[in-house]
């Protein structure tokens, strides 16, 4: 992460910042390629830390949430 909170590779570009608008701080994640934003609170972050490896691998499947064609609700923040 650089000074501007940019986490980037050739595959994705996400800006990470600490948001303090709420009653507790949250992590603000902005996908700079689409403009989509998601907030993660402390307990959500802790849950990700403890999630098994397979959890992230599933998220990385493009059909899992973002690019679906089975008629079900897609993902998205």
């Amino acid at each position: 992460m650089d000074d501007d909170g940019l986490v980037a590779s050739e595959f994705a570009t996400v800006r990470v910042s600490l948001d303090t608008q709420g009653n507790s701080p949250r992590l603000r994640l902005e996908d700079l390629r689409s403009g989509a934003v998601r907030f993660l609170d402390a307990l959500e972050l802790e849950s990700i830390v403890w999630a098994p490896e397979g959890f992230l691998r599933e998220l990385l499947d493009p059909s899992r949430h973002r690019w679906r064609d089975d008629g079900s609700a897609g993902g998205g923040p």
Partner: protein, 418 residues
């Protein structure tokens, strides 16, 4: 296509035919039988220190991605999407547990495994992952002291068998670090020449040319190295087996007996390094290592360790070759490392004199060898005074063509295994 009988008639003990450098059919055969069969140097573990680091590398014209997965295991993957063949990775380096192809979004783990693709109903659902291919991977990947090699053949000699005595030269290099490790972290310069790759391999341990081609850099830098490549020198050219060869200048450095004399760097300039070496190895052994110097070894077919810099040879066509070059860095030796980078900028950087001299000779040689007469290149220098050393290696004087003759003999065993 060149038949193998044809090939054997073009390589003789003391001469080789010019067509070996210019014939596209021979080049095509070399790719199959040498570059895509034998062990080829790919990269160094210090280039991918963290889990999920990756760097783009090559095996001849093949583009590969050298990855370290989350468990630390190392993979050499073909940079080709299993959907319709797009290049998957474009950046020279990065950190990512997975790679997503920019064309249609197929996504792969850095082990090569297919993780998924967009709109999977078109394939009958997510379970299609089981039947669809992931990224191709080199069937054999092994490393020796951080030097990662790959073979695209599923079977063959082990890396240790392939390296043979050349492994000791890698040891010699690593011992120059107080921590016993080399780090290739100085960045790479890419030099492309219009010449056949074997011109480069042969030149790397050709001790006959430095006094002519490099005389100006030797005189400007006040280097004593040039004088070591003469008939009066006790330095030798040694065939190490397996097509590997070296110019062993260490007898001269031992005669000189000065720690770091080989590098032309007075110890007073690198006091921390000298102290760290003696602390790590003891005074006597530390001095011995620093006196003995760094290897000058060509590890067939593509890794050339030239004392303070490292070259990787990459053929792209019968008459096109890239040399990737970097300054060698030693773990635990910051003061020495700074000097090595400065020295390498002068010798092999974008305006470096040493490599520019050689590059000019490669290109002239390629143009010259395309002329019709005489058809053969002479390889006979020193044949009459060649000897076998105490370990059974063939040795010539510093300016003899011992290493080239051995390279060609090995070449035939790969190109015509029968």
């Amino acid at each position: 296509m060149t038949t193998t009988t044809d090939l054997r008639s073009r390589v003789e003990p003391d001469r080789v035919h010019g067509s070996l450098y210019t014939d596209p059919a021979i080049y095509a055969q070399e790719l199959e039988r040498i570059w895509y069969t034998t062990w080829v140097y790919v990269g160094h573990t210090s280039e991918i220190p963290q889990p999920n680091d990756y760097v783009r590398k090559n095996i001849g014209p093949q583009q590969v991605v050298l990855t370290r997965d989350r468990t630390g295991a190392i993979h050499v993957l073909h940079n080709r999407c299993s959907h319709r063949g797009n290049l998957v990775c474009d950046a020279d380096r990065g950190n990512s547990s997975s790679f997503r192809c920019p064309y249609h979004g197929w996504t792969f783990a850095n082990t090569g495994e297919l993780l998924g693709f967009p709109f999977n109903q078109g394939y009958g659902g997510a379970q299609a992952k089981e039947r669809l291919a992931g990224l191709g991977a080199a069937p054999r990947v092994e490393s020796y002291r951080g030097f990662v090699f790959a073979s695209l053949a599923a079977e063959g000699p082990t890396l240790r068998e392939h390296l043979g005595a050349a492994a000791e030269r890698i040891d010699q290099l690593c011992r120059l670090s107080p921590e016993g490790e080399v780090e290739l972290t100085a960045g790479w310069v890419r030099h492309e020449v219009t010449a056949n790759w074997k011109m480069l391999v042969e030149n790397e341990t050709d001790g006959y040319h430095p006094q002519f081609v490099h005389s100006s850099i030797f005189s400007i830098s006040g280097s004593g190295i040039g004088a070591l490549y003469s008939d009066k020198s006790t330095a030798v050219t040694r065939a190490l087996g397996g097509g590997h060869s070296e110019n062993d200048l260490s007898p001269e450095f031992r005669k000189l007996g000065v720690p770091m004399g080989w590098a032309g760097t007075p110890e007073a300039r690198i006091p921390d390094y000298a102290a760290a070496m003696r602390a790590a190895y003891g005074k006597e052994t530390g001095d011995e290592i620093m006196i003995n110097g760094s290897p000058h070894v060509m590890i067939f077919p593509n890794l050339f360790i030239a004392e303070i810099q490292l070259f990787v040879i990459q053929p792209l066509a019968v008459d096109r070759t890239v040399q990737h070059v970097t300054a060698i860095q030693f773990a635990g030796a910051p003061d020495l490392n700074r000097r090595l980078v400065t020295q390498c900028v002068g010798s092999v950087g974008p305006a470096g004199m040493l490599l520019a001299d050689d590059a000019e000779m490669y290109e002239r040689n390629q143009r010259g060898v395309a002329q019709r007469q005489p058809e053969w290149l002479d390889l006979s220098r020193g044949l009459q005074r060649e000897r076998t050393d105490e370990r059974g290696f063939t040795v010539g004087t510093a300016t003899d063509e011992t290493s080239m003759r051995a390279m060609w003999a090995h070449y035939l065993t790969l190109m015509d295994p029968a």
